[in-house]
């Protein structure tokens, strides 16, 4: 039986792993190759490297990072961040990446998914979707302004607070829209429909991030994960919000995710990958241990 996957995600900026909350307030979490090797040794099933500086132009540094990871890590890894062309995807795959994720570029040019899938096979093309509830888009902007003006992590809009969680996940419409450019722009595109379209075009996997949950450690957005998992036949990686071991179980069992991605809880050593797998195995989830 196919094992459910545990995937640590390494957001890379200027050759360092960083992690924020709602894509903001970045904290340094270490050297990408060192951290990747540690996760691999600890039993991670895959790694995801997202170059969060590369949206504007393709950077040579990410190719060098991919080469360096590929020399040291012998599990699959996906690389994402600002790639626009099939040639760039080709370069990353040739440098040792197993898969490439596309986000903003695919929204602008959906044919990129089809072109890459036909050339490299569907399994190489990961469609990354950053989603947030339509009704919360305005709130989110206010939260950001609030954070910036206060310069404080603990404000009224503290994402860890129960009030905020309710506001984020209690949305009655259950509609999510796609955000691009590292979450800074909303598109008005329905996230579930975009996932279905991505599958039709040839994406082999959906990396689904709830922007409201990202970095909060308050749990994955199960409704969003389930809505997308039910709508597509390709694997869905749940992302954003992992804080406790139960959250992983919920994303897999209630959300229907094939894989769970996490950053904060592994980078800052709340849990090791081994602990996560032992926990899931103890609750009857097939894992590779």
């Amino acid at each position: 039986m196919l094992a459910k996957r545990i995937i640590p995600c390494l957001d890379v900026k200027d050759n360092r792993v960083v992690k924020g909350v709602h894509f903001l307030n970045l904290r340094d979490a270490g050297d990408p190759v060192e951290l990747g090797t540690r996760y691999s040794d600890d039993g991670a099933d895959e790694l995801v490297f997202l170059d969060i500086t590369a949206t504007i132009r393709f950077r040579k540094t990410i190719v060098e990072l991919v080469e360096s990871v590929a020399e040291n890590v012998f599990i699959p890894f996906t690389v994402g961040g600002g790639f626009q062309t099939v040639e760039q995807i080709d370069e990353l795959l040739r440098s040792g990446a197993e898969k490439v994720s596309v986000n903003t570029a695919a929204v602008r040019n959906p044919d990129l998914i089809a072109e890459a899938a036909q050339r490299f096979g569907n399994q190489c093309v990961v469609l990354a979707i950053d989603a947030r509830p339509v009704r919360n888009s305005r709130t989110f902007k206010l939260i950001r302004q609030d954070k910036i003006s206060n310069g404080a992590r603990r404000s009224k809009a503290n994402p860890d607070s129960p009030q905020h969680r309710k506001a984020s996940f209690g949305d009655a419409l259950g509609q999510w829209q796609v955000c691009v450019k590292a979450g800074s722009e909303t598109t008005g595109i329905d996230a579930v429909e975009w996932a279905v379209e991505g599958e039709k075009l040839g994406a082999g996997e959906i990396l689904l991030t709830s922007m409201d949950a990202d970095g909060t450690k308050a749990g994955y957005d199960i409704e969003l994960t389930k809505a997308v998992s039910d709508a597509v036949n390709i694997p869905v990686i749940a992302s954003g919000g992992a804080g406790k071991l139960e959250h992983l179980y919920e994303a897999i069992v209630d959300g229907g995710a094939d894989a769970v991605l996490m950053a904060s809880i592994t980078h800052f050593e709340n849990y090791t990958v081994k602990q996560m797998k032992e926990y899931l195995a103890g609750r009857g989830i097939p894992v590779n241990i």
Binding site: A97, F120, G121
Partner: protein, 203 residues
């Protein structure tokens, strides 16, 4: 020296990295002279079937000739699939025909691609799996699989709602649908075993 055939498809570097990591001499090359003088060949592949076959071009005939005269060959993923007769991925394409069988889509009713770590039952008489025990997880990422009809092929199966071939061995021809170079310690052991097969053949 093992030659990893560089035919302009993805993931070729990873295979070389993995061989080097375990102390095996492996080089990327598309030069016929390197291919002819190699101890063994690896046909890697992250690509669609049709693209891979056309990218291989005239090297296909050379690989077939050398393999049929006894040189060990390991096909990985699409490099494994093109060992067979034909595939229906994005149109009909002919493969190398070294092992009888057709490459067909994974049947409906399951998540496709088959992506991730699945348990492979390892027959004792398959040389690639020496020292690995009865079963191990390996990393898969594919939407098509080989329906093997070759009576001379030994087959290792994995279960994805139905049993399908994860690896074949027919004489000196080896193939894995999974990626040994991305399957951590178990995968590196498979590559080590292949390197030893190559050494044995040439000593």
């Amino acid at each position: 020296m093992i030659v990893v055939i560089d035919y302009n498809v993805g993931n070729v570097r990873s295979v070389c990295n993995a061989f080097r990591h375990i102390g095996c001499d492996a080089n990327l090359s598309c030069e016929p002279s390197d291919i002819e003088s190699s101890a063994g060949l690896v046909l890697p592949g992250v690509a669609a079937f049709g693209y891979a076959v056309s990218a291989l071009g005239t090297l296909a005939e050379l690989i077939k000739k050398l393999t049929l005269s006894g040189k060990p060959l390991l096909g990985i993923c699409v490099g494994y699939q093109i060992l067979f007769d034909e595939s229906s991925e994005y149109g009909q394409h002919n493969g190398l025909g070294l092992v009888s069988g057709r490459v067909v889509p994974l049947p409906a009713g399951r998540t496709v691609p088959h992506m991730g770590w699945n348990l492979v039952k390892l027959p004792e008489d398959m040389d690639l799996f020496g020292g690995l025990g009865k079963e191990k997880h390996f990393y898969f990422a594919h939407s098509f699989y080989a329906d093997v009809t070759d009576s001379q092929a030994k087959i290792a199966y994995t279960d994805y709602g139905f049993d399908f071939p994860a690896s074949v061995q027919k004489g000196n021809i080896y193939g894995t649908q999974f990626h040994p170079e991305k399957s951590s310690k178990s995968g590196l052991k498979v590559l080590k075993n292949f390197a030893q097969i190559c050494e044995g053949t040439n000593s």
